[in-house]
């Protein structure tokens, strides 16, 4: 086969750096051969998915424990959300037995030197690659953000392949690591009002479902905040498997503008919204923070909840990364939110926590959260702005 290995690569493959590095190198070289890579390249950052015990199960945990026997990360590595807040899980209604197993998963990662704070927005908490940097990330929303908004280069890794890159510092050079595979293929002209995070989510849903894997070049979005782009990334990756897009005037990658042009209308966005709005949804769960809320969003939510009280029979989760929660504690936002009866939950989210059977209907600003609430938890859903979500919470 045409995959060229360095001496260090070969040493790892021969087991000279231990059992885990050998297994990791087997995974990377096999993927390299399957996808016709010519060589392996160094990566400087890794994001691992497959962290919630709810998804991983005992077998996944066993694999991680095996790898942790002698595996050590070679590059900065962070983790996706776990199934619970690693500290305050008890008050969120997580069972003792689940907590114990979740802790075993996190301990295995800790032993390997992984930065064991759990978030889908590593780029908000210190795992921030720069333009042109090669990385190996799992977590589809973060992959899309890294490729598109930051201009780093990564494939859509799975849990085991991302871990393999963490333990070797290498990935195979194919797919989105090559410039020729990053050129826009379809142009989408947006003729609709795109204002809030929910609108960006719906836009991601419409384009994702339509474009599948074809790389979109999007025009007609005048401006966007980091928060709006993270919502868009989560949605377009969930509904279309998109790992890279271009947005005129907003994203940094250079590309040719495709001739093939499609239009996205307000009607389509409205239709996407009604599709996610279950008419018979009985809202008893309100969750914001998919992807994890930024400190700016938390400050705004605290402002809205100040002196208010969450209505009886409703549970409110604002999900975020632990370092962001620490800032929120420092600023008093945490106290404000929790005094209102809402929870500021770190390390976890409504998509990966064991919530099945606990609620009937989810209200959220995230199109991605709706997808998983329906598919995994059989909740009914409704999508609104963050402001409307908070109004409903205290109504």
């Amino acid at each position: 086969m045409g995959l060229e290995l360095t001496k260090d690569d070969r040493d790892m493959l021969d087991g000279k750096h231990g059992k885990a590095a050998r297994k990791a190198m087997e995974i990377i070289t096999a993927l390299g051969e399957i996808f016709g890579a010519k060589r392996l390249i160094p990566v400087s950052s890794v994001q691992i998915a497959g962290v919630s015990y709810h998804n991983l199960g005992e077998a996944g945990l066993e694999y991680l424990s095996d790898m942790a026997e002698d595996g050590q990360t070679r590059v900065l590595t962070t983790l996706n959300p776990a199934g619970m807040d690693l500290i305050e899980w008890k008050k969120h209604g997580i069972s003792e037995s689940f907590a114990k197993n979740q802790e075993r998963v996190v301990d295995a990662f800790l032993k390997m030197g992984v930065i064991a704070t759990c978030t889908c927005t590593p780029y908000l908490i210190g795992n921030l690659p720069h333009y042109g940097e090669h990385i190996a990330w799992a977590e589809s929303s973060a992959v899309c953000f890294a490729n598109s908004v930051i201009g780093a280069l990564t494939n859509r890794e799975g849990g085991p392949s991302a871990l393999a890159s963490a333990l070797t510092g290498r990935t195979a050079e194919y797919g989105f690591h090559l410039e020729e595979n990053r050129i826009a293929q379809v142009r989408y002209d947006i003729e609709a009002r795109i204002e809030n995070t929910d609108d960006f989510g719906l836009l991601g849903q419409v384009i994702g479902a339509r474009t599948k894997k074809a790389i979109p070049y999007i025009t007609g979005v005048a401006n966007a905040t980091t928060e709006q782009l993270k919502s868009f990334c989560a949605s377009i990756a969930t509904y279309g498997g998109v790992a890279l897009f271009h947005m005129e005037g907003l994203t940094p990658n250079r590309t040719q503008v495709p001739n093939k042009t499609e239009v996205v209308t307000q009607d389509e966005l409205d239709a996407a919204r009604s599709e996610l709005d279950d008419a018979d949804a009985e809202i008893d769960f309100i969750s914001v923070g998919c992807p994890h809320a930024s400190i700016k969003e938390i400050a705004w939510i605290a402002e809205m909840l100040k002196g208010k009280r969450v209505a009886k029979g409703k549970t409110v989760w604002i999900t975020t990364a632990k370092p962001t929660k620490d800032i929120a504690i420092r600023m008093g936002y945490y106290d404000t939110i929790e005094k209102a009866g809402a929870f500021l939950v770190s390390d976890a989210c409504c998509a990966v926590a064991p919530l099945k059977g606990r609620f009937k209907g989810l209200l959220t600003d995230s199109a991605k959260a709706c997808f998983y609430a329906r598919g995994k938890n059989s909740f009914k859903t409704r999508i609104r702005t963050i402001e409307e979500c908070m109004k409903e919470a205290i109504a």
């Binding site: 297994k23 087997e26 995974i27 096999a30 993927l31 051969e33 399957i34 998915a49 497959g50 998804n55 991983l56 199960g57 005992e58 077998a59 996944g60 066993e62 694999y63 799992a138 890794e157 799975g158 849990g159 085991p160 392949s161």
Partner: protein, 131 residues
């Protein structure tokens, strides 16, 4: 005796009975890791156990957590003896490697029938129909 040449994904030589489907398999959600039974609604193999069989299917589909399902099957002694694909996908490839299941692809699987006895020599990329 027919012989097919394909591509090694994970090494190993085994002999066993073929279980063939023309439909892709999602191991996460599609195969129960505690029984080895295919549970995807409407799948050709629904209700059939893949344990100890040479599992022949076009390709994998679905969530990357599927790799861990293959690993769980192996730990429980319920994994397929070997995997033969037309075109492997990363989820199955990674699953085979971490579970050490002999696996080979680039095989024209339409020539293989359920119940036939096969020898899979994944290391040299060869599948032989013995009878």
């Amino acid at each position: 005796m027919s012989k097919f040449e394909g591509r090694k994904i994970y090494k190993g030589r085994v002999e066993g009975e073929a279980l063939v489907t023309s439909e892709d398999i999602s191991f996460y959600g599609g195969c129960e890791s505690s029984t080895g039974i295919i549970v995807e609604k409407g799948h050709e193999l629904e209700g059939k156990s893949i344990a100890g069989k040479i599992l022949v299917f076009p390709s994998g589909k679905g969530s990357t957590v599927g790799s861990y399902v293959l690993f769980a099957l192996k730990k429980a002694g319920l994994a397929p003896l070997a995997i033969v694909n037309e075109e492997i996908d990363p989820v199955v490839a990674v699953g085979s490697i971490i579970s050490e299941i002999p696996t080979i692809d680039h095989i024209d699987i339409s020539k293989i029938k359920t119940g036939q006895k096969l020898v899979v020599d994944a290391g040299s990329g060869v599948v032989v129909i013995v009878e």
